[in-house]
Symmetry: C2
Subunit: 475 residues, 2 copies
C-alpha cells in the first residue's frame, strides 16, 4: 500500500472492537502527548493510539494491522533522545502505547529475577526490587518516565553501566509479539541456556523495528550495604583516566559509577540550578567516584581514601571531598544529574552521545573541545558522562549573546566535527541513545557494507512487510 493512502477505516473499527474504549485513542487531545518527542525534534501524526492491556490483545491487534499493511510505532515512556518513539508526518503510522501493560508479574529473591511487563516504569521496577530486598541497578535520568520495554528496546546505559552493564546485560529472557502477530514466549529465567540463536539479543537494541518487547525477565543483585561518593578536581583529562584506572585496578567490582564533568558544566550547575552548591570550585576538570558493595564490611572508605591519597601524591587529583552522609552523597550526584537542566537554562546546546575505547577518552575530550571552540568562537564545550565506559556526552553550549536558532543551525556541523574525531579514535557515534530517527542517515557511513547488509537481511526476514517502526534505525 503506498505511503500516502489513508488507513482503511474498517481497520480502526476492528481495532476499536478488539481493544475496547480504553484501548484506543482517537481524539486529537488524547493523541497529542504521543505525537512529539520530549526534545521536540520531531512532531508527527497518527490516526490513533492503541493501548493494549495484554500480550494477547496486542498480538491480535498486530495481526489486524499486518493484514492491512498498517505501520506500527511502539511507544514506552517516550523519552527517546533520538526520536525513536514517535510517528512520522505521513499520518498512517499507528502509535502503540505500552502504558497499560505495567505489571510486575513476578519477583524471586532466590533466583534474583524479576519478570516485568514492557510498560513498567523503570523507577517502579527499581522500587519493586528494593521492596523484595534486592537491587535492579539500571539507573538513568529519565527513570521516572522511561519504561522497561523502552530501556530494553534501546539497550539503555546510564550511570551504573561500568559496574552492571547496559540493559542488555540485565536481561535473561523476553516475551515478544512478532510483526505477524505471533507471540514468542522466551521468558526463561536461566543463567545458562545455549539452545540456538540468541534471539533475545536481537530484539534488545532493535528500537522496536523487529517486534514488540512485551515483557522481560530481569536480573537482580544484592543491594548495596556500603557506599562512598567523592568529588575530585583532577589535573586534566588524562588524570581523570589515571584515577579511574587506580580505583578499577584496586577493586573493579566496587566501582558503581565513574563520571567526568568539565569545570564549565559544574559552573553552569552552580549558577543555573537553585541550591546548586559545589563544595570544590575553580577546577577545570571534575570526577565523581561512586563506590558500592553488598558487604557491610567492604572497607570502601579506606579504599577511597587510599586511592585519593595516591592520586593526590601523583599530582593527578588536585582536591577532593568525600561525602559524609546520604544527603551529601545525593548532593554530589545532583551536580552531575542536573547537567542537562543547567545546560537548558543557560541557552541552546547541541548534544553528542559518543563513545571511544576507555583509553582514548582524554584525547576525545581534549580534541573535540578544541575543535568545537575553533569552529564556533565563544561556544563552550560541556563534556560530561561515563568515563569508565568511554561514553562522553560531548555537548556544546551556545556562545553567550548568539541567537539560539543560529547556533542550532550548526547542529549537524557540530556533530560531524565530534564524530570525525570519534571515528579516528575507533569509537561509536551512538553510545547509549541509539539511532532512532535522528541518526539513521549516519548508518551507511558508519555501519555500511557487510554489517548493514546483514542488518537489512535480518529486518526483511523478521518483518517482511516492513510495518515495525518504519524510518527508524535502518536508513
Amino acid at each position: 500500500m503506498p505511503d500516502d493512502q489513508p488507513l482503511p477505516s474498517p481497520l480502526l473499527d476492528r481495532l476499536a472492537a478488539l481493544l475496547g474504549p480504553r484501548g484506543i485513542l482517537t481524539e486529537a487531545a488524547d493523541l497529542e502527548p504521543h505525537l512529539a518527542d520530549w526534545r521536540a525534534l520531531y512532531r508527527g501524526k497518527t490516526p490513533c493510539v492503541l493501548r493494549p492491556a495484554s500480550t494477547q490483545e496486542l498480538a491480535e491487534a498486530v495481526k489486524l494491522c499486518a493484514a492491512a499493511g498498517a505501520p506500527l510505532v511502539p511507544q514506552g515512556g517516550n523519552t527517546s533522545m533520538v526520536g525513536g518513539g514517535v510517528p512520522d508526518e505521513g499520518g498512517r503510522q499507528i502509535v502503540v502505547s505500552m502504558a497499560r501493560m505495567n505489571r510486575v508479574r513476578d519477583i524471586d529473591p532466590l533466583d534474583m529475577t524479576m519478570t516485568a511487563e514492557a510498560g513498567v516504569v523503570l523507577k517502579a521496577a527499581q522500587d519493586a526490587a528494593a521492596e523484595a530486598g534486592c537491587l535492579f541497578p539500571l539507573s538513568l535520568g529519565a527513570e521516572g518516565t522511561a519504561t522497561i520495554g523502552g530501556v530494553l528496546s534501546t539497550n539503555a546505559g546510564g550511570n551504573t553501566t561500568v559496574r552492571y552493564g547496559n540493559a542488555r546485560e540485565l536481561m535473561l529472557g523476553l516475551e515478544v509479539v512478532l510483526p505477524d502477530g505471533q507471540v514468542w514466549n522466551g521468558l526463561r529465567r536461566l543463567r545458562k541456556d545455549n539452545t540456538g540463536y540468541a534471539l533475545r539479543h536481537l530484539f534488545v537494541g532493535a528500537e522496536g523495528t523487529l517486534g514488540f518487547i512485551t515483557a522481560a525477565v530481569l536480573r537482580l543483585f544484592p543491594r548495596a550495604r556500603e557506599s562512598e561518593v567523592a568529588l575530585c578536581i583532577v589535573r586534566d583529562e588524562a588524570a581523570a583516566l589515571a584515577l579511574f584506572r587506580r580505583v578499577r585496578d584496586r577493586d573493579e567490582t566496587a566501582v558503581r559509577a565513574f563520571e567526568y564533568m568539565s569545570g564549565t558544566g559544574v559552573e553552569l550547575y552552580r549558577t543555573q540550578i537553585e541550591g546548586g552548591t559545589v563544595p570544590l570550585t575553580g577546577g577545570e576538570h571534575y570526577v565523581l567516584v561512586d563506590l558500592a558493595s553488598s558487604r557491610p564490611d567492604a572497607g570502601l572508605r579506606a579504599l577511597m581514601e587510599a586511592v585519593l591519597e595516591e592520586a593526590l601524591e601523583a599530582g593527578e587529583v588536585l582536591d577532593a571531598t568525600i561525602a559524609e552522609s546520604e544527603a551529601q552523597r545525593a548532593a554530589l550526584w545532583r551536580i552531575r544529574e542536573e547537567h542537562p537542566e543547567a545546560q537548558k537554562r543557560e541557552g541552546a546546546s547541541v548534544k553528542n552521545d559518543v563513545s571511544v575505547p576507555v583509553s582514548r577518552t582524554p584525547e576525545l575530550i581534549r580534541r573535540s573541545s578544541a575543535a568545537l571552540k575553533a569552529m564556533i568562537p565563544g561556544s563552550r564545550p560541556v563534556p560530561f558522562g561515563h568515563l569508565g565506559d568511554g561514553n562522553i556526552h560531548m555537548n556544546l553550549q551556545q556562545p553567550p549573546g548568539m541567537q539560539a536558532a543560529d547556533f542550532l543551525a550548526r547542529s549537524h556541523d557540530i556533530m560531524d566535527t565530534v564524530n570525525e574525531i570519534v571515528r579516528e579514535l575507533g569509537g561509536s557515534f551512538s553510545a547509549e541513545h541509539g539511532i532512532g530517527r535522528l541518526k539513521t542517515d549516519m548508518m551507511e557511513s558508519w555501519r555500511g557494507g557487510a554489517e548493514l547488509d546483514v542488518m537489512r537481511r535480518v529486518k526483511a526476514a523478521i518483518d517482511p512487510r516492513g510495518i515495525m517502526n518504519p524510518g527508524k534505525v535502518l536508513p
Copy 2:
C-alpha cells in the same frame, strides 16, 4: 547440487592454489584427526581440510565454496560435547580448521581488552592476559585445546560463569566471514555502542551455522590478588543452595565458582584417580566454594569462615575445610575437575547438560536422581557442576556388572527422563554445551513455534544457500 554428488574437483584445485600446500590437507592420515569428535559420537568424511592463514584467505576460500555450493564445517579445537565441529557421513562437507589463525593481535591493559584470532587456544589467551597483568576469566575443562572461535561459537560457560558470565558476556566485538565471503569487521573495543542490531550476539552461540568467527575483542579483568577455596559436606541439596545464597548475599562479586558434587562422584574420584585424596569423606553431598577478589585486603578468609560458621550452626553444612595454600586449593579443585575422567574409568556413563532456575536446583538433583535409579536399577547418578548458575551435569553411571553397550543403548531414555523433569522446572535441555548434531532433534519440541520460526528465517537470510555447518543446531 544434490547431497550425493561429489564436489567438483576444479574447486579443490582452486582452493589448493589459493591456500597453498600448508593451507589444505587431502591425505587420509592428515584428515583423520578432523573427522571424529572427541566423545566418539560421530565419525564423518571430508574431501579436504582447509587451513586458512588469514581472514582474507578464508574469505576468498568461502567465496569459491559458496559459488560451488560446497558445505563448510568450521572447526576449532574440536572439543565439542555435541558433535558440533565434525562433518557428516556424506563426504561433501569441507572441514575448515582455524588452527593457523592463532595470533593474539593486541592486548590493552588500560582498555582491558584483548583482540584474539579464532584459532587461539583458550589457555593461550588466559596466559597472554596474565602476562599483561590481567585476567581472562573463561575457564573450562577443555581449555588446553578449545579455541577462542569455538568457545564463542558455542557460548561456552565453565566454572567461573557465576561471576563473569558466559563467553558471550566476555566479548565486545567480532570479525566474521559471512557465508558469501564478505568480511564483517566488528572488532570494536567499546563498552557502549548502540548502533543497530547486535549482530555480534547472533554469531556467538550460532555454532558456525551463520558464518566464521575469525577474531574477537575480549574483555579482561584485574587479576585476583586474594582467593579462598573451601570443600564442604552439606546436609542435602537444599542446604547446598542455602549455602550459595548465604555467600552470594554477603558479597556476590566474590563468588568465583560454586560447584556441587555428589558423594558418589567424590568417591569415584577417590577410588579411580591416582593420588585422589579427599580431606572430607563419607558425605552424600559436597560443595566447592571458590572466593576471589582483586583486592589484596578483601578479607575473604574472614568472610568464608563467617559464612561457614553460620551454615554449620544452621545445620546446612556438616563439615568443611578451607585450603591453606595454593597447592591445597588446586587439590580441592582437582576433585571437581577429574569428575569426567573418574566417570570414564569407572565404566560407561550418560551425560546431561541441563539448567534450571537456580532456586529449582535441589529439586532437579533430587527428582532426577530418584527417577534414574528407578529406571535402571543399580545405576548411579553422578550429578555435579555449576549450582550457582543452575547448571547441573545430571550424569548417570552404569550399574556395576552391566554391559556398557546395553547401558548406552538407554542413552535417549536417560536423557528424556531428565529432560522431562527439567521442562517441568522451567529449565533448558542444553545449558552450556549447545546443540551441535546431538540435540538438533530436540529443538522442535523445546524451541518450536515462533522461536524456531524466527531462527529459521534468520538462518535463511544470512546463509541462503545453507552452506554453513549443515545439520547442526537447526533441525
